[in-house]
């Protein structure tokens, strides 16, 4: 990943200050400072809620390299032709207007003793509380033959934006009767139903545009999220198109050759036209640089999302290791509000309410065929623990599935408005 874009927007004095140096609201005014790294479902939400609820008592700075955020959630619907890329893009203007100092730069280091965050553009930002919500990066060497330099030949498309567009272009360019392969990730990973919703959306596109094409999925897992619902849907809508090879059939024994465009599953080499490699994941790199990770993820305390390593550094969303919640935008948004409430309480003495978490993941299988899974969670001493849950049933009526899809669209409008204002 290269550092190729940086810039700043802000309001009033903040914008003027950034012209001379990227250190924003330096010492002297006495206000507590929160720095948030990563402007996705966790970070944008946390920044917005702290700024909104503290009513100017806390300086909030959000560091996010991109000026336009493309959600990873709903990106499969773009692949299926149900959404345009523009539908998935969100700017940070409303957050800035709401009092968040938005700095478009990369955070490249954290000095936890000095309590500063270093920026790629030079300079550093001091913090009293640091919130890291960097999402995911990929584990090196997770899929034999693949590394980030191969992501144009074999896209992961597991971060929203250009990778998603690339994958869609490759699918559209498949020859008649061609083969789409997916290398699915091992647990834990971002958006558990995501790869299988993607299979559904690719199948939907191919059924209409390339009906003799095939889909192969090599999966290192013996089972997956919403499996019965997806497999029922694949049989109903895309009969014979999808070949899912789970762990029991060698789905975990995979290598790829991006230059030859071949995939070898359990010793059998196949020439493919598109290969979507979704490698094993780990916390976004800044969490590791901050020294708050243990293995691939950052362990956190459930009550306030502070890290086990440092009470003044919080980690939200996919990057955190918190217990029972799936890695999802909904989860990150939910955790962000608990964290925002706790951080505000610690810095201003405002009332801290007990932590409550929830998550729902909707998936689209075909036109108007939506399903969902969800749960509520509570904070225990050890972890975020599941309280109650539900999942769509197989064999539901078409009306219910349509209502579920419409509900997912409502959720998208709701969460993006909750994140970005």
């Amino acid at each position: 990943m290269t550092i190729n874009r940086r810039g700043f927007i802000g309001t009033g004095a903040a914008a003027a200050a950034t012209l001379s140096a990227p250190v924003v609201f330096a010492a002297g005014h006495g206000k507590p400072r929160v720095v948030v790294v990563g402007g996705g479902a966790g970070g944008a939400t946390a920044a917005r809620y702290i700024a909104k609820d503290s009513k100017g008592e806390i300086d909030v700075t959000l560091i996010e390299p991109t000026r336009m955020y493309y959600t990873c959630f709903f990106s499969n619907l773009y692949l299926g032709g149900f959404k345009e890329m523009d539908d998935l893009g969100h700017s940070y203007g409303t957050l800035a207007a709401g009092g968040v100092n938005v700095v478009h730069d990369w955070a490249v280091g954290v000095d936890r003793d000095a309590k500063t965050v270093a920026l790629a553009g030079g300079g550093s930002l001091p913090y009293d509380k640091l919130i890291l919500s960097p999402g995911i990066d990929f584990v090196d060497g997770a899929v034999e033959g693949w590394d980030l330099s191969a992501q144009n030949a074999m896209p992961h498309a597991y971060k929203g934006g250009s990778q998603t567009e690339l994958l869609k272009a490759q699918i559209a360019a498949m020859p008649a009767g061609g083969t789409f392969a997916m290398v699915a990730p091992p647990n834990p990973y971002r958006c558990p139903p995501g790869p299988y919703e993607r299979v559904s959306m690719v199948a939907h596109y191919l059924k209409a545009n390339n009906p003799t094409a095939k889909i192969i999925v090599a999966d290192p897992k013996p089972k997956f999220s919403k499996q019965a619902l997806f497999q029922e849907g694949w049989a109903d809508h895309y009969d014979g198109m999808v070949d899912w090879i789970g762990e029991d059939f060698g789905g975990g024994d995979v290598s790829v050759d991006p230059s030859a465009m071949t995939v070898t599953i359990d010793g059998e080499e196949t020439k493919v036209d598109v290969c979507n490699v979704i490698p094993a994941m780990k916390a976004g790199r800044i969490a590791e640089l901050a020294g708050v990770t243990d293995g691939n993820w950052a362990p956190v305390n459930a009550a306030d999302m502070s890290t086990k390593a440092d009470a003044d550094v919080h980690v939200l969303g996919d990057a955190s290791q918190q217990g029972d919640m799936p890695k999802s935008g909904f989860s990150a948004n939910s955790q962000a509000k608990v964290c925002a409430n706790a951080v505000r309480g610690a810095l201003t003495g405002s009332k801290v309410f007990p932590a409550k978490f929830s998550n729902t993941c909707w998936s689209l299988i075909a036109t108007n065929d939506g399903v969902k899974v969800g749960a509520t969670y509570e904070a225990t001493v050890e972890k975020i623990a599941k309280v109650d849950g539900f999942i769509s049933a197989t064999g539901e009526s078409a009306d219910l599935r349509k209502a579920t899809y419409e509900e997912s669209e409502g959720w998208y409008a709701g969460i993006t408005s909750d994140m970005f204002g």
Partner: protein, 234 residues
């Protein structure tokens, strides 16, 4: 004043339509039954008040979005400004598919697709509009809050500050500006309606699995706090 002219026009149209039209009018008694699906949000008849939606006495001839004290969607207010008057035809279209007529209406209702049922419903509604000064004793008096909830639960005064924190869990799906895109807006509801609805989810009388789960773990005080917060949210 404004109300008079369109009413007259509507009736003029009605009579001009003659016998053929009157044969299409539905059965108001059956319409009273059909109104059951409206009662969660609307009252009609003697003493009807605004609830989640406006009271419906005198709906025929009324400009859209014109009842004072009701939180309407921007779409509905715009339609009113643009001159939408509730007549037999416009109500018929609205009830068949609310969002086809008023795209972002807060009325989260799929519509009545059956023509006969809709005609019956309109006949029932019209009985409370023909002569608004002489509204018949509502039998049944249709109220929006039929329930058996303990009055002690309804009497709990919610803490809006706690409600604001708890509400952050709701606004992941329910937009804080009350917009209604596939998920209903919940702002500006009367406290009683909010509390009754949440307890109906908690007790699994209302069917939605996400809401049953979310409401299921809320205490009576927490539901009251949410009701207090959302009531005043614009």
């Amino acid at each position: 004043m404004i109300r008079q002219l369109p009413t007259l026009l509507a009736f003029a149209a009605l009579f001009a339509g003659g016998a053929a039209f009157s044969e299409e009018l539905g059965d108001a008694e059956k319409g009273a039954d059909a109104f059951g699906q409206c009662k969660a949000c609307h009252q009609i008849g003697d003493g009807a008040e605004n609830r989640i939606g406006p009271q419906l006495n005198g709906i025929f001839g009324r400009p859209a979005g014109s009842v004072e004290g009701v939180k309407y969607s921007r779409s509905m207010l715009r339609m009113g400004d643009d001159g939408l008057i509730w007549t037999y035809d416009t109500l018929d279209a609205y009830l068949e598919n609310p969002k086809a007529l008023v795209s972002k209406t807060r009325m989260n209702f799929r519509g009545v697709k059956n023509n006969e049922e809709r005609a019956n419903l309109l006949a029932f509604l019209r009985a409370y509009s023909d002569n608004p000064s002489d509204i018949p004793e509502a039998e049944p008096t249709a109220t929006g809050t039929d329930h058996d909830l303990d009055p002690a639960i309804l009497a709990i005064q919610g803490d809006p500050e706690y409600g604001e924190y708890l509400a952050s869990e709701c606004t992941t799906c329910h937009q804080s500006d009350g917009d209604n895109d596939g998920i209903p807006g919940v702002t500006g509801w009367p406290t009683e309606d909010f509390v009754v609805a949440m307890h109906a989810y908690k007790r699994k009388i209302r069917p939605h699995p996400v809401m049953q789960m979310m409401a299921g773990r809320l205490s009576d005080e927490e539901i009251a706090a949410l009701a207090a917060y959302f009531r005043d949210l614009d």
